[in-house]
Amino acid sequence: MDSGNIAWLLTSASLVLLMTPGLALFYGGMSRGKSVLNMMMMSFGAMAVGTLAWITFGFSISAGDTMNDIIGDPLYDFGLQNVMEGGDAMAIISAGFGATFAIITVALISGSIADRVKFSSWLIFAFLWVILVYSPVSHWVWGDGFAALLGPDGPWFADLPGPYDFAGGTVVHINAGVAGLVLALVVGIRKGFGRDPMRPHNLPFVMLGAALLWFGWFGFNAGSAFAADNFAATAWVNTTVATAIAILGWLVVEKLRDGKATSLGAASGVVAGLVAITPACASVDAFGAAIIGLVAGALSALAVGLKYKLGYDDSLDVVGVHLVSGLWGTLAIGLIANGTINGDAGLFYGGGITLLGVQAAAAAVVMAYSAVVTLIIALAIKYTIGFRVSEEVEVAGIDFAEHGETAYEEAK
């Protein structure tokens, strides 16, 4: 037991836990003043039911003994009983670290359904999604799934490189992005979507939220080394470089297209950069990180306008930011992984096209699985208890109707 590694994982788990309230502010600030509490409650609710889902079956499905390389045994460790009795500090805090990932992943999805969904329906969705979607996918990518299948002893005797997903480009961002898209389609658009401005009601909250996400993301990326070592240090530097440059990428697109660089753009650039570097943070050098950030910022800046053209109300741009930049970062490994830090090289570093193919295939499998299972859960809820509040409540503001509160009271 190396106390330095434990110390860093304790710190990292704490940092990742903070990301979800950071997300609550980021999303809450972007909401209209009449629905900020509901938006934030979706994140807080994810912390509650996400933890419950994790300690009941999620952890087991994710980290338990594998059943045919598909899912971990769901009854492997109900209530984290074994891992906590085991008394191994690294194992215990790793289970906690895993909980924080499950929480933030499902919380991310909520951005696509702002202002219009019953809180109880959301809680049920979040609980089921962690168990049925997040946990199996994390088993494939980080557990015994893909690697075993693709390895020399796997059914295909393939011995292919990768797939690489250091901290969760596929498991977290692509996964949540696809689920957000499906959920937005099932739930439907808000009244006034595409016509009313629906501007963020509190941009300082958005910026603060983005900053807390960045801060917490150090635990997410550098903590995924599970040690205080050179992988962690590399992930730390790449995370900062990609994020900083992604801000520039987003702002330049805005400046050229709209004439103004916005604070919402800067905050969104932060998140796009963080998303894109997540899978790649231990595979590239600082130069690669800068490329990843620049493209992520620019690409997502362009992608967030799509929903108006295509007509899906992904209210706070889960698709444009997490799906698009998550895909980019995952594929970028196949292009610019330098091959010296962590494993195989990408196309431009002499590694050939195979790695790119494996990355794309892994992403595609996760996208397909996430889309189908999310759709099933969403439709089941839609046609039983239903998702939406009444139109009257939506116009008057969901906060008061669902939570009996308004975010701000006049000074009195």
Partner: protein, 112 residues
């Protein structure tokens, strides 16, 4: 007595207040409003969405004056608030039956 109400651009408040003081007006009540008129139909692009903003922030100023002063005060406001751009606002006058000063209970012109 008359009540002169002005809806003006928020950034002209200081100038209007100065003009009112110069015109001998002793008190004003100010509040926030928003309006549209000819100035409507302005389009913004934000985060990939295009939409129309038509309620523009304005400031309301209300002044109670003697009948005789209403015209003068109106002119003072108009010239101080004027920028010549659409959206400069309106000033209107309504008749007032009575005014009371809360502190003293005085009525009529004495209460101004």
């Amino acid at each position: 007595m008359k009540l002169v109400t002005a809806i003006i651009q928020p950034h002209r408040v200081d100038e209007v207040r100065a003009a009112l003081e110069a015109a001998g007006v002793k008190g004003v009540t100010v509040s926030e409003a928003a309006g549209y008129g000819r100035q409507k139909g302005h389009t913004e692009v934000y985060r990939g969405a295009e939409y129309t903003v038509d309620l523009v922030p304005k400031t309301r100023m209300e002044v109670l004056v003697d009948d005789a002063d209403a015209a003068v005060v109106t002119e003072a406001i108009v010239s101080a608030a004027q920028t010549g751009k659409i959206g400069d606002g309106k000033v209107w006058t309504v008749p007032v039956d009575d005014v009371a000063r809360v502190r003293t209970g005085e009525h009529g012109a004495d209460a101004l």
